[in-house]
Every structure is written in C-alpha cells, then in structure tokens.
C-alpha cells in the first residue's frame, strides 16, 4: 500500500516545474521592533477582538458557527476575551453532519457547559430522515450542511454569523471580505461584494439578509497554532498524534466507522495519525504524524509542503472551483 499524505512532506521526490530546494540560511540579521509595537500575534488578536466588538455594537442577533475545530475554538476564545468580564453576548450554532468525530462532539458539549453558552444544533441527519436531503452517492455530507445552516439562520433570524474561515485556506476564501453580505438564501456573490476600506466594516443589511463575519481573515494556519500554544487553549485530542484504525480512499486516510467506510477492497489498518482539520468524517483525512504536543505540531506545520485543505479535504478536490461554488450557495 502506498503511504498516505503526511504534513511533513518536505522531501517529496515528485518532479514539477518548480523544484523545491533546501532552504538556505537567510542572510539578514534580526532586528528589534519599536518599544510599543505589537507582536504579530498581538496585532492579529487585537484586530479580531475589534471585529467581534463591531458586531456586538451593530447587530441584534449574532451567532458563532462552532464546529469544535481549531478555528472555531480560537474564535470562541477571542470572543470570551473581547467581552470579559461579561459573558459572550452571542450564542453558538453547530451544523452536525451526523458523521462528526465523537471526540469533537464531546469537546463541544464540554466547552458549552464550561462557559454557560447557548448552543443551537442544526442536524443534517434530521433533514435526511425527513427526506428533505438525500445522501450523496459518495457518502460525503459536507455539501449537505448548507441547507440546514441557511434554514436555521432564517428561523432564528440571526443577522450576523461568525465563521472561522481564513483567507490563506483557499483561493476563493482569499477573495472574501471580513463582513460578507448574504441574501435570504445565504448566497455569496463574489462579483458584487461591497468594497471594504480601512477597518470601517459595513454591516447594514435588509430584513432577511445577514452578514457573515470572519474575524480570522488575516490569520494563517501557523498563526492559529502559535496562538493556541501561547494562550494555552485546550483542543480536541484528535489534533494530536494517536493510534487509529484508518483506511485509504482518494489518497487520504479516513477513519473507519458507521458512516460508510471501508467499502469492499478498502483495507483497514492501524496507524499513528493526527487530524489537521476537523470536519465531516467522510471527507476529512488524517495525516501520518508523530506530533503529540503543540510544539511538535507547530514544527510539523512550519515544515509542511501541503496546505491543510489540500492535505485533508476531499470536498475541495472535486473541482477547481469547488469552494467558490459551495460558498455561492451559502456554505461556511
């Protein structure tokens, strides 16, 4: 069996037009910053807190999309800091695909209880059971999240919806505003985005419309991990290397389970893996890793030659514009 993807794929021997070379020492000296300049993590934190407070000041019913993944965990952490010592003035919304990792659901419920938050759950399984949505032939439920998400936003009249999307994740997301207007069907029209100047975020919207807000727009994957380490934020265990029964599909290690894998001809084996992103079990791949600590994870990511979505997400590989198409329809 060929090995699955790893995050530390620094010595890939494939040939392409841009051979990666060893990284030579940089010749310029480090310098000191001015006395009151913020470190880049402090600057990102301050910017994100500013965005949370703008939403609190301008909207009636904001909600944080909370998947139990690292980006939404960092969002919640920032929201807690932004409104301390008062509680976070928003509730949480989770779209449960029915194929979520049990460790992540456990973490979600633990966090909600610990901070006295209110959690809304929109269930993809409910929609399937009611016959409103149909299971896809490939078993992937990520694209099925859009309808439950949109309907819950409408039903609860949420006017601002925080998402953990980052511009460094994907080329369509690189085009996203911090405040992104959505119509009553949650549709994103990339050709008609509002110009967004300075830090003057325009959240005005008509009844039935809402604004998606991305406080982590300017964060990279490495920033998120460095911030988690600095703040000592607890994460679901699946982000760290552990033994797991997996099988290979479309070049990714998927967890064996009730959701539909493995099929005939797919062999289960036990491997030391970790998850670099957390999503639906059917389309989120694990990577070979021995990173059991935050420092090891950061070292691994800094050396990785693959993006996190490229390494671990089948849903983005469906077509060149897979993310753009899903975003247009109202996806996260």
């Amino acid at each position: 069996m060929t090995p699955g993807p790893t995050t530390a794929d620094t010595t890939a021997d494939r040939t392409h037009a841009f051979p990666q070379q060893a990284l030579p020492q940089h010749s310029l000296p480090q310098r000191a910053l001015p006395p009151h300049a913020l470190s880049h993590l402090d600057a990102l934190e301050s910017e994100a807190v500013h965005i949370f407070r703008e939403v609190a000041g301008e909207f009636e019913r904001p909600v944080i999309l909370f998947s139990g993944g690292k980006d939404s965990i960092v969002m919640l952490h920032l929201a807690l800091k932004a409104f301390a010592p008062a509680p976070v003035p928003f509730s949480l919304l989770h779209v449960d695909t029915g194929h979520n990792f049990p460790e992540v659901l456990e973490y979600r419920d633990h966090v909600v209880a610990a901070h006295g938050l209110r959690l809304h759950v929109a269930s993809v399984q409910d929609y399937i059971d009611r016959g409103v949505l149909r299971e896809r032939p490939d078993g992937t439920r990520n694209p099925l999240q859009t309808v439950p998400l949109t309907e819950r936003i409408q039903a609860e009249r949420f006017d601002a919806v925080f998402g953990g999307g980052r511009r460094d994740e994907e080329k369509a997301r690189a085009k996203e505003r911090v405040f992104s207007l959505r119509d009553e069907f949650s549709q994103w029209d990339p050709r008609r985005q509002r110009p967004e100047l300075w830090n003057l975020y325009n959240g005005r919207h008509a009844a039935g419309e809402h604004v998606r807000v991305f406080p982590l727009s300017n964060w990279t994957e490495l920033d998120v991990w460095q911030y988690i380490a600095r703040e000592g934020i607890e994460l679901p265990e699946i982000y760290f290397a552990h033994e797991r029964e997996v099988f290979q599909r479309a070049g990714m290690w998927l967890t064996a389970g009730e959701w539909g894998g493995p099929k005939d001809g797919e062999t289960v084996e036990k491997r030391q893996v970790r998850y670099r992103t957390v999503g639906d079990m059917s389309c989120t791949g694990a990577v070979d890793s021995d990173a059991t600590t935050l420092d090891a994870v950061i070292t691994e990511i800094a050396a990785s030659r693959l993006t996190e979505r490229g390494a671990t997400r089948a849903d983005d590989k469906m077509s060149e514009a897979a993310m753009e198409d899903r975003k247009r329809e109202g996806y996260f």
């Binding site: 301050s46 807190v49 609190a56 050396a303």
Partner: protein, 424 residues
C-alpha cells in the same frame, strides 16, 4: 501570462522568533499584461509560500488548457470569472513570510472599472507596488494607480519596471520611465518612490540582485519589502480611542475599543467627544490583563471615574491635541458604487464607530460622481463628527458614505481639514 519559473533563492517562512517579526501590508497594482501575476507568483514561490498541492493544482489546470508552462496567475485569480477572463477582478489577499517579516499582500486589479477594488486594497496598505511594462512605460493606468496611491496616502511606493529582459536590460530605458513617472509623482504630491528594474519572468531583482543589470545599485524587490520601515508604532501620536461597545458587568461600565493612536494611562484626564465632558481613567484592561498603560493598536477596555453617558460612536482623547468637532465635512473622495452620487443626496457617514446622517452639499462644482471617479465633497452632517485630517491619521481621517436605503457602500472619503473655510 505564463512562464516556467525556476527558483532563484529561498527564504524560510518557518517559525521565526515571534517577538522580532512585524507585518507589512502591501498592495500591487498593474495594467493588463504587464506581468503582475507573474511577479506576485514569483514572490510567493521564491519565498516558499506556494505549497506543493497548490502548485499541482495550477499545473493541472494549465495543462488541461494546453499551456506548456504553469500559469501563475491561477494562484491569485481565485474566482471562476477571473480564470475564464484571465484578469484580476477583485482583491485577493495572500500571506507569506520571511525570517525578517510577515507580509499581507493585497493583489488588486488594474482595470479602471475595478478601481474600487484597488482602493480597497490600498486603504490598509503601507506600501504599493505600481507595475509598468518596460516596453510601454508610463501609461494612463499607471497614472491612475499613482493617483490612487497618493489619494489614499500609501506611505511607500515602489515603481517596478517589469520585463527588463525585453528591452535588453538597458539602463536608459529604465531611466526614461523613472523620469517620466517622477514628473507625474511630483504633480500628484507623492512624497517619493523607489524605482526597481525587474524581470518577473526571469527572476531579475525580485528576490536576488540581478547580475544582468550591474548599473542598478539598489536592493532587489523582496529585500526592499523586508527593510522598508513599517509605521506600526503610533503610540507617540495624539490619543484617539473610539468607543466600540459598552460592557456592563456587576454595575461597572467598561468602555471597549481599539486604541487607534497614542497611549492611555491610569489617572489620565480624558475628554469625550462630541459631548466635551471630561473624566479620569481609573482602570485599563488589555484583554484579560490589568494594565497601568496601553498603546495603539491594542484592543482594551477603560473604566472612568464618573458614570458618564458614554456610548458607541463617542471618541475619547487625552491632552491638548484634540480632533476638530464639525458638521461641515470637506474631503477628497473616490466614488465606489455603480449608482451615481449627486448634490442633494441624503447619505449616512460612517466615521470610526460613529454613523450619522448627512446631505451632499457640493461636489467641487460637479453635478454628480460616477463609479471610480476621484473628486472632492462637502457634506453637512446631522450631528458633529470628531475629525482628524487624513494626512495625520488614516483611521480617524477616513470615512465611508453608505446608502440609507439598502446599506450599500457608496464612497470612500479622506478628510481635508486644511482646506476648511477656503473650499467653495
């Protein structure tokens, strides 16, 4: 544009020490076919910011279109419409790092009909790269890009004269273009610019100094980006703290906001605008840490000695250097929306955290501004605004106009206090 690009050098984006790394936000603008995407592609690629799977995706698409070399424009032109038309339509943000600095790149379109997107990218940029094709020199779009950079007061300008390989790496070709651009820059009031001769395709002067242009003694582009001073430290400027939100907890009011400029200390006397009331700071909390002092651009909460009526939209200042309190706003503008802006229009002005109603009184004699027009405006607001000149502060001197009917962002404004009174 296509090109086979061999790496010329490598810099590591790996975990550099956090305390010595700052961030440069910069924007690129260029005309059609002047090689902007190739330049951006090379910066990203040679700084090791393009990862294997992204590169493979680009190669796959390029091959399927029958191109024999990877089209690096596909790295930043992320929308279906952009890839179909081969042009940049909207701003794409890209992130890369070297051991010296982290970079946020706003890759903006050059077409005149997408000027608003270039304005968006330039509004937060501390440096703008204006790209010209060495064969064509300064063209109308170049002058427009320079005008926008001047209007938005982007502190640093780079004139990247690209495709030097196609003019034989000739110094006189470069000098002719630099001289031409310098004339326009002086007219526009640009404080200065750094000209760099490059070939993005061949890699000359992008990451490493070129050996084919011995006559050029300046730095390669990336070295310049790494060393240009970032104006991040605004703690020595007059203190401006727009109140974003009031947190009430256990009968205490915490005024939350991001310090735009200057510093705050416990005990400082403060003035609240527009009411003019004064108080003293009794406590500062910087995201969970009880602090004696705070500096821009920290997000923080303040406690004041008296239970004042302070709310979102108020501006807190210290010291004698206070903003101008006025209902008559004069400004340079760039109109962004497809619908025109006319004298007599009723609009909303969004300035820092404050939104007020206003009427367009004058457009420097023009009856209306249409999309992408640069002009001047006089507004009469329903309530006073605490304004700084845009030349002094790109935050407290900036505003947007919003359509009260549907919330559309109409116009970007840059406050001009110096002309107050003399402007008709």
């Amino acid at each position: 544009m296509t090109g086979t690009i061999e790496p010329t050098a490598a810099t590591s984006a790996a975990a550099a020490p956090l305390t010595t790394v700052d961030t440069l936000r910069f924007a690129t603008a260029g005309s059609v076919d002047d090689g902007k995407s190739t330049l951006v592609g090379r910066l990203l690629h040679d700084s090791k910011s393009v990862l294997t799977d992204q590169l493979e995706a680009v190669e796959r698409v390029s091959q399927s279109r029958g191109q024999d070399a990877p089209d690096l424009a596909l790295l930043t032109d992320g929308l279906r419409a952009e890839r179909e038309q081969g042009i940049t339509i909207d701003v794409a943000y890209r992130y890369f790092a070297t051991p010296r600095r982290r970079f946020i790149l706003a890759d903006t379109p050059g077409h005149v009909q997408y000027t608003r997107n270039m304005v968006t990218g330039a509004s937060t940029a501390e440096l703008a790269i204006i790209l010209v094709d060495a064969r064509n020199g300064v063209v109308e779009q170049t002058r427009r890009h320079a005008a926008i950079a001047a209007l938005l007061r982007v502190p640093h300008i780079v004139l990247a004269v690209n495709k030097m390989d196609l003019v034989g790496y000739e110094e006189k070709e470069f000098e002719r273009i630099v001289e031409d651009f310098a004339g326009h820059a002086a007219e526009l009031g640009l404080p200065g610019f750094t000209p760099i001769p490059v070939s993005a395709l061949a890699g000359d002067n992008v990451v490493d100094r070129s050996t084919r242009m011995d006559w050029y003694e300046g730095p390669a582009l990336l070295r310049h980006l790494e060393s240009v001073p970032v104006g991040g430290d605004r703690s020595g400027e007059p203190t401006r703290f727009p109140v974003q939100y009031v947190i009430r907890h256990a009968e205490i009011r915490y005024y939350a906001g991001q310090l735009v400029s200057g510093s705050l200390r416990v005990g400082d006397r403060v003035t609240v605008h527009p009411s003019g009331e004064t108080s003293a700071i009794t406590g500062i909390d910087v995201l969970g840490e009880d602090a004696r002092e705070a500096y821009a651009p920290q997000s923080l909460t303040l406690r004041l000695a008296d239970q004042r009526d302070v709310s979102r939209g108020d501006m807190i200042t210290t010291g004698a250097d206070v903003p101008a309190l006025t209902r008559d706003v004069r400004a340079a503008v760039c109109h962004l929306a497809d619908r025109p802006l006319r004298v007599g229009d009723r609009v909303l002005v969004r300035h820092t955290t404050r939104t007020v109603k206003a009427i367009v009184k004058d457009l420097a004699g023009a009856a209306e501004l249409t999309a992408n027009d640069l002009g001047r405006i006089t507004l009469r607001t329903a309530e006073p605004l605490a304004l700084d000149d845009y030349a002094d502060s790109r935050r407290t001197g900036a505003f947007i106009l919003v359509d009260p009917a549907d919330g559309a962002t109409l116009t970007a404004g840059m406050v001009d206090l110096r002309e107050a009174g003399s402007h008709v």
